[in-house]
């Protein structure tokens, strides 16, 4: 096995790992970064969303060999001190309930905002397709509108 190299939250990483291992499990079990969650393993729920070269990606279906050389950002790297505008609003507006899906939703939302500065409800529906069993969707939507100073429904 040859080492796979990539950057995670700005740090260079070299790994001796089965190249078919999904990025999710590399992050969680090899690198100890458990903020990226396992929910379904088939890229349905989005709890495992991270940024790969700036794009939101569901890491549970992404073999580590495909991200060799890539720049990966996880929830641990979204901000220095947990003070990204979305993180602050998620707290202030009491968005999470159990919270398990929220790191994935935050990463999906942050990636959306890199593309769409002023998202409409339709944009939000298109970009944020994560599953939240607690039903926090209306609060997620409200927090995005507040973060971007856009009108909600």
């Amino acid at each position: 096995m040859s080492a796979i190299t990539l950057r995670v939250n700005g740090k260079p990483i070299a790994l001796d790992v089965d190249p078919s291992t999904p990025l999710l499990w590399v992050l969680r079990d090899h690198l100890g970064m458990t903020g990226t969650k396992y929910g379904c393993g088939i890229a349905e729920c989005g709890a495992c969303t991270v940024h790969v070269n700036g794009e939101a990606v569901r890491s549970c279906q992404l073999p580590i060999e495909y991200v060799a050389g890539a720049e990966v950002v996880t929830i641990e790297g979204l901000s220095e001190n947990g003070d990204h505008v979305l993180q602050k609003l998620w707290v202030e507006m009491n968005v999470p309930q159990c919270g398990y899906c929220q790191t994935g939703i935050l990463m999906a939302t942050a990636a959306m905002l890199a593309h769409v500065k002023k998202p409409t409800d339709k944009d939000i529906d298109t970009y944020i397709t994560n599953i939240c069993r607690c039903g926090t969707y209306p609060r997620v939507r409200a927090a995005i509108h507040r973060a971007t100073d856009t009108p909600g429904t």
Partner: protein, 755 residues
């Protein structure tokens, strides 16, 4: 207000132990907002213990131990809010950690017996536990005041406690709580202080602060069960008999043992469940008669990393002896069998009034309903971590009921209870799935087979979905005779149950049948024993029965050519007026009765959890749904208006969040959810087969109206209530829009086209 008894002997024991030099860490956390650690079972804060619930550190940090799990309901915030109201401490100084069920056992059930209920499950933070939390705060405050009075040699009555500072009012002298905490902890009060009246509350009912675990959640540092990492920990991937109740027949470990990282293949055998030591059986019970008393048959692969374990498990040759469950070829066969049971008289009568045989004519309506198996499907897959040695078990677990989980760990190993340590993690949703603790039983059973190192057991999503403890499949038959005015004279209902239930909530105790408006009533049940394992699901059984009752009453109303709202109001005219108020508020807010074009409709439904048949209890809740169905059958729920009465509200935003989320849960359950069976095994494995509503599917307007609150002196539980009425409100609206009646769920399986 009723006083709460605090175990003073325990206060004394604790205080004495401290005075005698009990070793304590007095290291203080950095000052910040009210907080809880990412590892919530840890006691980082130290402090001087006033009681098992509360400690205060020299730097004024107040450590509050919460006995209920945080499952998204906000209990780690609401409980300390309740304590803070009476303690008069600075909210930013509050730090929370979970109480230990092992300590509860060792110290004469200090948490459970004192009134937190012998039941640590997530709900009822305010309805059942608020007064206890207030009393804990009041008691600590008075002891602090007494300590200050002693130090100053002044009257306690001249001391004011506010914002973690004690002030001697006549002289203006001040002491911080932390400065007198050590002395205060040694003081015993002659009598427990009287709680202040609610009218003098300054925090409860006034504030909805940010939940104090949210900073950990949004940083990804909150440790859920799946995030536990321990030195030397190994990972286990789990497989149980696809047909529940089946046994492992054979497997071939040799085929996978040489795969990378694989350490072992272990077998879990139900006969190895040891049972609680005889001397302790009387102390605790496994709850409800629903909890399993032995582990299920299983095989697990243990490896250095989860992905290695999972790949090896997928490659492992396994043969199961499926047992008699495999004879059930399809869900349709089960549904037919359940309906056939309803052709015969009920075997158990739950409620009667008058004489249902008084009217000999055939019933005006004779209708049947069915709700399928559903999975609670919390987003965090089942998991847990345990290390088992001959004389000690240590468990880290996302329990919905830590006390039950700890006790099940005792039961599975047979060790003395004091040798079993339990650490409660955050919980990635529960909704009933984690309450009976069969998950922790499996975790401990696997770890027993690989002793000495921490074993982290993970159910894949597919394994979890196919090994549920499902919402009980229920079929019902309702018969009613309507009189000349269209009102029911006879109401006869029978349910076929496919698993044990605790309460026939909203079925046997619906106010329609116990409120006296219908003179002749008979409610009964029959059983269809199945191999499919059932358990709790949000608002257990209520979530099915409300759909059935509120759909049937709608059908009665329309048969009587009555407005569904007016019909309900008439039947409930002599009942707790909160029901009528909720109906009226929801209807008014939704614009009930306005003419709608074809393809649009409104539906209404009302219910109460946990008890419908008692006045002024729990939460009464009404929903009005407004829907649009296109001619080709595409349903759009345009709005949901919810009105409710839980008496009073201590935290408005937290209540709104539970009701919003519960409404969406009810909608998903009714539109989407069905677990089906083929050859005895569950078919659905993942979210591609068990769909969940997403952002774009949510009604644009879900509004929680507070206008029906009665101000009755209770803080009723709110989390389960919305699971009942939203589904039937939508179903009744679909009928108005299309003329098609929803008598089974999920609605997505119905043809909704119209011309």
């Amino acid at each position: 207000m009723e006083q709460v008894k605090i175990n003073r002997r325990t206060f004394l024991v604790t205080a004495t132990a401290f005075a005698g030099g009990m070793s304590l860490s007095l290291a203080a956390p950095a000052a910040r907002a009210a907080s809880i650690s990412g590892e919530p079972w840890l006691s980082n804060a130290g402090g001087v213990e006033f009681s098992p619930w509360i400690a205060i550190a020299p730097d004024d940090t107040v450590i509050i131990r919460v006995a209920t799990p945080e499952i998204g309901n906000g209990t780690v915030t609401q409980t300390p809010m309740n304590v803070t109201e009476e303690l008069a401490c600075d909210w930013s100084k509050v730090r929370v950690e979970f109480a230990s069920p092992r300590r509860d056992y060792l110290e004469n059930q200090v948490y459970s017996k004192a009134g937190w209920m012998p039941f640590f499950a997530g709900h009822a933070t305010d309805s059942d536990r608020m007064k206890i939390a207030l009393q804990i705060g009041a008691s600590a405050r008075e002891r602090l005041k007494a300590a200050a009075a002693h130090q100053w040699n002044v009257q306690v009555a001249d001391i004011e406690a506010r914002n973690s500072v004690l002030t001697h009012v006549p002289t203006g002298r001040k002491l911080r709580y932390g400065e007198v905490a050590a002395k205060a902890a040694t003081i015993q009060l002659k009598a427990e202080p009287t709680l202040k009246p609610q009218s003098e509350w300054t925090f409860l009912g006034k504030a909805s602060p940010a939940k104090l675990n949210l900073p950990e959640i949004v940083r990804g540092s909150a440790v859920y069960g799946l995030d536990v990492r321990l030195p030397g920990m190994v990972y286990a991937a789990l497989l149980q008999s696809p047909v529940q109740g089946g046994r492992l027949k054979s497997h071939d470990p040799g085929a996978v043992l040489k795969m990378p990282g694989v350490r072992a293949v272990v077998v879990v055998d139900p006969s190895k469940t040891k049972g609680i030591p005889a001397s302790d059986k009387a102390n605790y019970k496994l709850y409800y008669g629903l909890a399993e008393t032995a582990v299920q048959s299983a095989v697990a692969v243990i490896a250095d990393h989860y992905w290695q374990a999972k790949k090896a498990l997928d490659a492992l040759p396994v043969v199961w002896e499926p047992g008699p469950g495999a004879d059930w070829k399809s869900s349709e066969q089960i549904y037919d069998a359940a309906m056939a049971v309803l052709d015969k008289p009920a075997t158990k009568v739950l409620h009667t009034a008058g004489d249902v045989n008084a009217v000999t004519d055939p019933p005006t309506l004779d209708l049947r309903y069915l709700t399928p198996y559903c999975d609670s499907a919390p987003l965090e897959p089942l998991n847990g971590t345990a290390v088992v040695t001959p004389d000690k078990v240590e468990v880290w677990h996302p329990a919905q009921d830590p006390q039950q989980a700890w006790w099940v760990a005792v039961d599975e190993t047979g060790l003395a209870p004091d040798k079993v340590y339990f650490h409660q993690t955050y919980v990635g949703g529960a909704f009933g799935r984690r309450v009976l603790a069969n998950d922790v039983r499996m975790v401990v059973a696997v770890a027993k087979e690989y002793p000495g190192v921490p074993v982290h057991v993970i159910w894949s999503r597919e394994e979890m979905t196919r090994q549920g403890r499902y919402r009980t499949l229920i079929a019902t038959r309702f018969q009613a005779h309507l009189d000349g005015q269209g009102m029911p004279q006879v109401w006869k209902a029978q349910a076929c149950l496919t698993g044990p239930i605790m309460v026939a909530a909203s079925f046997a105790d619906s106010p329609y049948v116990v409120g006296g408006a219908i003179p002749n009533v008979q409610i009964g049940t029959s059983d269809l024993p199945m191999h499919i394992l059932t358990g709790a699901y949000r608002g257990p059984w209520y979530n099915s029965f409300v759909f059935m009752v509120e759909t049937f009453i709608d059908e009665c109303a329309l048969t009587a050519k009555a407005d569904p709202l007016a019909y309900r109001l008439k039947l409930l005219a002599n009942w707790d007026p909160a029901w009528s108020k909720c109906l009226q508020v929801a209807a008014d807010k939704a614009g009930w009765g306005k003419p709608l074009p074809r393809g649009q409709g409104q539906g209404i439904a009302v219910a109460a959890w946990p008890t419908a048949g008692l006045r002024q209890t729990g939460t009464i809740i009404c929903a009005v749904a407004t829907v649009e169905v296109s001619p080709d059958g595409v349903l759009k729920v345009k709005s949901i208006d919810v009105a409710f009465d839980c008496g009073r509200v201590a935290n408005r935003d937290a209540v709104a969040a539970q009701l919003e989320g519960g409404a969406i849960h009810s909608l998903n359950m009714s539109l989407n959810e069905e677990i089906t069976v083929r050859n005895g095994a569950v078919v659905e494995g993942n979210f591609d087969q068990y769909p969940m509503l997403r952002m774009g599917d949510i009604p644009p307007r879900i509004t929680i109206h507070f206008d029906a609150l009665s101000d009755h002196d209770r803080f009723g539980i709110v989390g389960e209530a919305p699971i009942g009425p939203i589904g039937p409100a939508v179903g009744n609206a679909i009928f108005q829009a299309t003329g098609k009646r929803m008598r089974t769920t999920p609605f997505r399986k119905h043809d909704l086209t119209w011309t």
